[in-house]
Subunit: 173 residues, 2 copies
Protein backbone atom coordinates (compact mmCIF):
# COMPACT_ATOMS: atom_id res chain seq x y z
CA UNK A 1 0.00 0.00 0.00
CA UNK A 2 1.58 3.31 -1.07
CA UNK A 3 2.14 5.89 1.67
CA UNK A 4 -1.01 7.91 2.33
CA UNK A 5 -3.14 5.51 0.30
CA UNK A 6 -6.11 3.51 1.55
CA UNK A 7 -5.98 0.55 -0.86
CA UNK A 8 -3.40 -2.05 -1.85
CA UNK A 9 -1.94 -1.47 -5.34
CA UNK A 10 0.28 -3.34 -7.75
CA UNK A 11 3.72 -1.78 -7.29
CA UNK A 12 6.88 -2.58 -9.27
CA UNK A 13 9.53 -3.94 -6.89
CA UNK A 14 12.27 -2.53 -9.14
CA UNK A 15 11.23 1.07 -9.69
CA UNK A 16 8.27 1.67 -7.35
CA UNK A 17 5.84 2.41 -10.18
CA UNK A 18 2.28 2.18 -8.87
CA UNK A 19 -0.13 0.55 -11.33
CA UNK A 20 -3.56 1.98 -10.45
CA UNK A 21 -6.46 -0.01 -11.81
CA UNK A 22 -9.64 1.90 -12.34
CA UNK A 23 -13.29 1.20 -13.04
CA UNK A 24 -14.41 1.52 -16.65
CA UNK A 25 -17.01 3.86 -18.08
CA UNK A 26 -19.63 2.53 -20.46
CA UNK A 27 -21.63 5.05 -22.50
CA UNK A 28 -24.77 4.23 -24.43
CA UNK A 29 -28.25 5.32 -25.36
CA UNK A 30 -31.89 4.38 -25.60
CA UNK A 31 -32.79 5.66 -29.06
CA UNK A 32 -36.47 6.44 -29.59
CA UNK A 33 -37.88 6.39 -33.12
CA UNK A 34 -41.52 7.36 -32.92
CA UNK A 35 -43.03 5.03 -30.36
CA UNK A 36 -40.32 2.41 -30.95
CA UNK A 37 -36.85 1.85 -29.54
CA UNK A 38 -33.73 0.71 -31.35
CA UNK A 39 -31.89 -2.44 -30.26
CA UNK A 40 -28.85 -4.27 -31.62
CA UNK A 41 -28.32 -8.01 -31.71
CA UNK A 42 -24.75 -8.70 -30.61
CA UNK A 43 -22.41 -10.25 -33.18
CA UNK A 44 -19.68 -10.63 -30.56
CA UNK A 45 -19.11 -12.31 -27.24
CA UNK A 46 -20.13 -12.05 -24.47
CA UNK A 47 -23.86 -12.59 -25.02
CA UNK A 48 -23.59 -13.05 -28.78
CA UNK A 49 -27.04 -13.22 -30.37
CA UNK A 50 -28.72 -11.30 -27.55
CA UNK A 51 -30.20 -7.83 -27.83
CA UNK A 52 -28.60 -4.75 -26.38
CA UNK A 53 -28.45 -0.97 -26.55
CA UNK A 54 -25.75 0.74 -28.61
CA UNK A 55 -23.17 1.14 -25.85
CA UNK A 56 -19.51 0.53 -25.16
CA UNK A 57 -16.40 1.70 -23.37
CA UNK A 58 -15.62 5.38 -23.35
CA UNK A 59 -12.31 6.08 -25.09
CA UNK A 60 -9.40 8.21 -23.90
CA UNK A 61 -9.82 11.92 -24.68
CA UNK A 62 -13.53 11.56 -25.38
CA UNK A 63 -16.45 13.21 -23.60
CA UNK A 64 -19.22 10.96 -22.30
CA UNK A 65 -21.74 12.37 -24.77
CA UNK A 66 -19.38 12.02 -27.73
CA UNK A 67 -18.78 8.41 -26.71
CA UNK A 68 -22.51 7.66 -26.82
CA UNK A 69 -22.72 9.21 -30.32
CA UNK A 70 -19.74 7.14 -31.48
CA UNK A 71 -21.17 3.89 -30.13
CA UNK A 72 -24.51 4.53 -31.88
CA UNK A 73 -22.61 4.92 -35.12
CA UNK A 74 -20.29 1.94 -34.61
CA UNK A 75 -22.97 -0.52 -33.56
CA UNK A 76 -26.08 0.73 -35.32
CA UNK A 77 -24.83 3.09 -38.06
CA UNK A 78 -27.15 5.65 -36.48
CA UNK A 79 -26.46 9.38 -36.26
CA UNK A 80 -28.17 10.41 -33.05
CA UNK A 81 -28.89 13.48 -30.91
CA UNK A 82 -28.86 13.15 -27.13
CA UNK A 83 -31.91 14.28 -25.14
CA UNK A 84 -30.39 14.08 -21.69
CA UNK A 85 -28.99 11.61 -19.21
CA UNK A 86 -31.42 8.76 -18.52
CA UNK A 87 -29.46 6.82 -15.92
CA UNK A 88 -26.18 6.15 -14.16
CA UNK A 89 -25.75 2.49 -13.29
CA UNK A 90 -22.91 1.20 -11.12
CA UNK A 91 -21.94 -2.44 -11.50
CA UNK A 92 -19.29 -2.78 -8.77
CA UNK A 93 -18.82 -6.52 -9.30
CA UNK A 94 -17.27 -5.79 -12.69
CA UNK A 95 -16.03 -2.28 -11.81
CA UNK A 96 -18.22 -0.54 -14.35
CA UNK A 97 -20.17 2.71 -14.36
CA UNK A 98 -22.66 3.11 -17.18
CA UNK A 99 -23.94 6.47 -18.42
CA UNK A 100 -27.07 5.90 -20.50
CA UNK A 101 -28.66 8.75 -22.45
CA UNK A 102 -32.08 9.24 -24.03
CA UNK A 103 -31.60 9.87 -27.73
CA UNK A 104 -33.31 10.15 -31.09
CA UNK A 105 -32.14 9.85 -34.69
CA UNK A 106 -30.54 13.04 -35.96
CA UNK A 107 -30.69 11.62 -39.50
CA UNK A 108 -32.99 8.90 -40.80
CA UNK A 109 -31.61 5.40 -41.17
CA UNK A 110 -29.63 2.76 -39.32
CA UNK A 111 -27.92 -0.53 -40.10
CA UNK A 112 -25.88 -3.23 -38.41
CA UNK A 113 -22.32 -2.14 -37.67
CA UNK A 114 -19.49 -4.70 -37.43
CA UNK A 115 -20.36 -5.68 -33.84
CA UNK A 116 -24.08 -6.22 -34.56
CA UNK A 117 -25.79 -9.09 -36.38
CA UNK A 118 -28.95 -7.05 -36.76
CA UNK A 119 -30.39 -3.69 -35.72
CA UNK A 120 -34.14 -3.26 -35.39
CA UNK A 121 -36.91 -1.08 -33.97
CA UNK A 122 -39.30 -2.54 -31.43
CA UNK A 123 -42.69 -1.59 -30.12
CA UNK A 124 -42.78 -1.83 -26.35
CA UNK A 125 -44.74 -5.10 -26.41
CA UNK A 126 -42.45 -6.68 -29.00
CA UNK A 127 -39.20 -6.05 -27.14
CA UNK A 128 -37.43 -9.43 -26.76
CA UNK A 129 -37.42 -9.30 -22.95
CA UNK A 130 -36.17 -12.87 -22.61
CA UNK A 131 -33.28 -12.25 -24.99
CA UNK A 132 -31.79 -9.04 -23.63
CA UNK A 133 -28.01 -9.25 -23.27
CA UNK A 134 -27.54 -7.67 -19.83
CA UNK A 135 -29.62 -6.69 -16.79
CA UNK A 136 -28.78 -3.02 -17.35
CA UNK A 137 -30.46 -3.14 -20.79
CA UNK A 138 -33.58 -4.25 -18.96
CA UNK A 139 -33.20 -1.45 -16.42
CA UNK A 140 -32.61 1.21 -19.05
CA UNK A 141 -35.69 0.23 -21.07
CA UNK A 142 -37.81 0.31 -17.90
CA UNK A 143 -36.41 3.70 -16.92
CA UNK A 144 -36.93 4.98 -20.46
CA UNK A 145 -40.62 4.02 -20.29
CA UNK A 146 -40.91 5.57 -16.83
CA UNK A 147 -39.54 8.94 -17.93
CA UNK A 148 -41.04 9.05 -21.42
CA UNK A 149 -42.59 12.42 -22.18
CA UNK A 150 -40.94 14.05 -19.15
CA UNK A 151 -38.75 16.98 -20.07
CA UNK A 152 -37.14 17.27 -16.66
CA UNK A 153 -36.47 14.25 -14.49
CA UNK A 154 -33.89 12.84 -12.13
CA UNK A 155 -31.63 10.32 -13.83
CA UNK A 156 -32.25 6.84 -12.59
CA UNK A 157 -29.75 4.55 -10.90
CA UNK A 158 -29.64 0.80 -10.28
CA UNK A 159 -32.95 -0.63 -9.17
CA UNK A 160 -32.59 -1.78 -5.58
CA UNK A 161 -34.85 -3.96 -3.51
CA UNK A 162 -35.49 -3.20 0.15
CA UNK A 163 -32.32 -5.07 1.15
CA UNK A 164 -30.29 -2.86 -1.18
CA UNK A 165 -29.42 -5.68 -3.58
CA UNK A 166 -29.44 -5.05 -7.30
CA UNK A 167 -32.25 -6.57 -9.31
CA UNK A 168 -33.77 -6.08 -12.73
CA UNK A 169 -37.23 -4.48 -12.81
CA UNK A 170 -40.11 -6.55 -14.09
CA UNK A 171 -40.89 -5.76 -17.73
CA UNK A 172 -43.43 -2.96 -17.97
CA UNK A 173 -45.94 -4.15 -20.52
Amino acid sequence: MPEGDTHERLICRECGFVHYENPKIVVGSVIAVGHQVLLCRRAIHPRKGYWTLPAGYLELNESAGDGALREAWEEARARIALDGLLAVYSIPRISQVQLIYRARLAEPGFAAGPESEEVALFDWTSIPWQDLAFPSVHWALGHFAETRGQEVFTPRSNPVDVAGAERGPAPRL
Copy 2:
Protein backbone atom coordinates in the same frame (compact mmCIF):
# COMPACT_ATOMS: atom_id res chain seq x y z
CA MET B 1 -4.89 -1.77 -34.17
CA PRO B 2 -6.55 -5.03 -33.08
CA GLU B 3 -8.86 -6.69 -35.61
CA GLY B 4 -12.34 -5.17 -35.51
CA ASP B 5 -11.16 -2.25 -33.36
CA THR B 6 -11.35 1.43 -34.25
CA HIS B 7 -8.43 2.76 -32.21
CA GLU B 8 -4.72 2.01 -31.97
CA ARG B 9 -3.78 0.16 -28.75
CA LEU B 10 -0.59 -0.83 -26.98
CA ILE B 11 -0.10 -4.50 -27.90
CA CYS B 12 2.63 -6.84 -26.60
CA ARG B 13 4.76 -8.04 -29.55
CA GLU B 14 5.48 -11.28 -27.69
CA CYS B 15 2.05 -12.50 -26.62
CA GLY B 16 -0.45 -10.21 -28.32
CA PHE B 17 -1.86 -8.87 -25.03
CA VAL B 18 -3.85 -5.70 -25.69
CA HIS B 19 -3.38 -3.01 -23.02
CA TYR B 20 -6.56 -0.92 -23.13
CA GLU B 21 -6.25 2.46 -21.46
CA ASN B 22 -9.47 3.93 -20.18
CA PRO B 23 -10.73 7.26 -18.91
CA LYS B 24 -10.96 7.67 -15.16
CA ILE B 25 -14.05 8.35 -13.07
CA VAL B 26 -13.95 11.03 -10.39
CA VAL B 27 -16.74 11.04 -7.80
CA GLY B 28 -17.43 13.91 -5.42
CA SER B 29 -20.04 16.06 -3.78
CA VAL B 30 -21.20 19.55 -2.97
CA ILE B 31 -22.13 19.23 0.70
CA ALA B 32 -24.68 21.76 1.94
CA VAL B 33 -24.77 22.61 5.63
CA GLY B 34 -27.61 25.06 6.20
CA HIS B 35 -26.95 27.85 3.73
CA GLN B 36 -23.23 27.07 3.59
CA VAL B 37 -21.13 24.67 1.53
CA LEU B 38 -18.16 22.58 2.64
CA LEU B 39 -14.80 22.95 0.95
CA CYS B 40 -11.40 21.34 1.56
CA ARG B 41 -8.01 23.03 1.20
CA ARG B 42 -5.72 20.57 -0.58
CA ALA B 43 -2.71 19.27 1.37
CA ILE B 44 -1.37 17.50 -1.72
CA HIS B 45 -0.29 18.30 -5.24
CA PRO B 46 -1.56 19.25 -7.73
CA ARG B 47 -3.04 22.57 -6.60
CA LYS B 48 -1.84 22.23 -3.00
CA GLY B 49 -3.28 25.01 -0.83
CA TYR B 50 -6.27 25.59 -3.11
CA TRP B 51 -9.89 24.83 -2.24
CA THR B 52 -11.80 21.91 -3.66
CA LEU B 53 -14.80 19.65 -3.16
CA PRO B 54 -14.35 16.27 -1.46
CA ALA B 55 -13.77 14.19 -4.60
CA GLY B 56 -11.41 11.61 -6.00
CA TYR B 57 -10.99 8.56 -8.19
CA LEU B 58 -13.60 5.84 -8.00
CA GLU B 59 -12.05 2.57 -6.83
CA LEU B 60 -12.46 -0.90 -8.31
CA ASN B 61 -15.58 -2.73 -7.13
CA GLU B 62 -17.16 0.46 -5.82
CA SER B 63 -20.43 2.09 -6.88
CA ALA B 64 -20.32 5.76 -7.86
CA GLY B 65 -22.40 6.78 -4.84
CA ASP B 66 -20.30 4.77 -2.41
CA GLY B 67 -17.21 6.40 -3.85
CA ALA B 68 -18.59 9.87 -3.15
CA LEU B 69 -19.35 8.86 0.46
CA ARG B 70 -15.82 7.46 0.87
CA GLU B 71 -14.18 10.60 -0.51
CA ALA B 72 -16.21 12.81 1.85
CA TRP B 73 -14.91 10.71 4.74
CA GLU B 74 -11.31 10.54 3.54
CA GLU B 75 -10.93 14.23 2.75
CA ALA B 76 -13.35 15.91 5.15
CA ARG B 77 -14.11 13.29 7.83
CA ALA B 78 -17.75 13.90 6.94
CA ARG B 79 -20.47 11.26 6.97
CA ILE B 80 -22.82 12.38 4.21
CA ALA B 81 -26.09 11.44 2.54
CA LEU B 82 -26.50 11.98 -1.20
CA ASP B 83 -29.44 14.03 -2.49
CA GLY B 84 -29.06 13.22 -6.17
CA LEU B 85 -26.71 13.72 -9.08
CA LEU B 86 -25.80 17.37 -9.59
CA ALA B 87 -23.61 17.10 -12.67
CA VAL B 88 -21.60 14.95 -15.04
CA TYR B 89 -18.52 16.75 -16.33
CA SER B 90 -16.31 15.36 -19.07
CA ILE B 91 -12.72 16.57 -19.22
CA PRO B 92 -11.50 14.86 -22.41
CA ARG B 93 -8.07 16.52 -22.32
CA ILE B 94 -7.23 14.51 -19.20
CA SER B 95 -9.59 11.59 -19.96
CA GLN B 96 -11.74 12.18 -16.93
CA VAL B 97 -15.47 11.94 -16.26
CA GLN B 98 -16.66 13.51 -13.01
CA LEU B 99 -19.88 12.53 -11.25
CA ILE B 100 -20.75 15.22 -8.70
CA TYR B 101 -23.61 14.74 -6.23
CA ARG B 102 -25.58 17.11 -4.02
CA ALA B 103 -25.18 16.01 -0.43
CA ARG B 104 -25.76 16.93 3.20
CA LEU B 105 -24.22 15.81 6.48
CA ALA B 106 -25.75 12.57 7.73
CA GLU B 107 -24.02 13.15 11.09
CA PRO B 108 -22.81 16.45 12.53
CA GLY B 109 -19.13 17.25 12.32
CA PHE B 110 -16.22 17.29 9.90
CA ALA B 111 -12.44 17.66 10.06
CA ALA B 112 -9.42 17.68 7.79
CA GLY B 113 -8.51 14.21 6.51
CA PRO B 114 -4.91 13.36 5.53
CA GLU B 115 -5.22 14.97 2.07
CA SER B 116 -6.66 18.25 3.40
CA GLU B 117 -4.94 21.10 5.20
CA GLU B 118 -8.26 22.50 6.32
CA VAL B 119 -11.98 21.90 5.89
CA ALA B 120 -14.43 24.76 6.29
CA LEU B 121 -17.97 25.95 5.61
CA PHE B 122 -18.52 28.97 3.40
CA ASP B 123 -21.38 31.35 2.81
CA TRP B 124 -21.88 31.92 -0.90
CA THR B 125 -20.27 35.36 -0.78
CA SER B 126 -17.27 34.14 1.20
CA ILE B 127 -16.34 31.27 -1.15
CA PRO B 128 -12.67 31.76 -2.15
CA TRP B 129 -13.46 32.05 -5.88
CA GLN B 130 -9.92 33.05 -6.77
CA ASP B 131 -8.44 30.12 -4.89
CA LEU B 132 -10.50 27.21 -6.18
CA ALA B 133 -8.34 24.26 -7.24
CA PHE B 134 -10.00 23.32 -10.53
CA PRO B 135 -12.47 24.76 -13.07
CA SER B 136 -14.91 21.94 -12.31
CA VAL B 137 -15.13 23.07 -8.66
CA HIS B 138 -16.22 26.42 -9.99
CA TRP B 139 -18.76 24.78 -12.30
CA ALA B 140 -20.17 22.54 -9.57
CA LEU B 141 -20.67 25.43 -7.15
CA GLY B 142 -22.45 27.42 -9.85
CA HIS B 143 -24.66 24.47 -10.73
CA PHE B 144 -25.35 23.83 -7.06
CA ALA B 145 -26.60 27.41 -6.67
CA GLU B 146 -28.65 27.13 -9.85
CA THR B 147 -30.47 23.98 -8.71
CA ARG B 148 -30.76 24.83 -5.02
CA GLY B 149 -34.23 24.12 -3.68
CA GLN B 150 -35.21 22.13 -6.77
CA GLU B 151 -36.26 18.59 -5.98
CA VAL B 152 -36.24 17.44 -9.60
CA PHE B 153 -33.77 18.81 -12.12
CA THR B 154 -31.65 17.71 -15.04
CA PRO B 155 -28.05 17.11 -14.00
CA ARG B 156 -25.73 19.70 -15.44
CA SER B 157 -22.80 19.10 -17.74
CA ASN B 158 -19.78 21.17 -18.73
CA PRO B 159 -20.59 24.81 -19.34
CA VAL B 160 -20.03 25.55 -23.03
CA ASP B 161 -19.85 28.82 -24.82
CA VAL B 162 -21.45 29.30 -28.23
CA ALA B 163 -18.33 27.91 -29.92
CA GLY B 164 -18.62 24.73 -27.84
CA ALA B 165 -15.44 25.39 -25.87
CA GLU B 166 -15.35 24.69 -22.16
CA ARG B 167 -15.35 27.63 -19.81
CA GLY B 168 -15.94 28.25 -16.15
CA PRO B 169 -19.15 30.12 -15.29
CA ALA B 170 -18.86 33.53 -13.71
CA PRO B 171 -19.24 33.38 -9.94
CA ARG B 172 -22.87 33.86 -8.98
CA LEU B 173 -22.82 36.36 -6.15
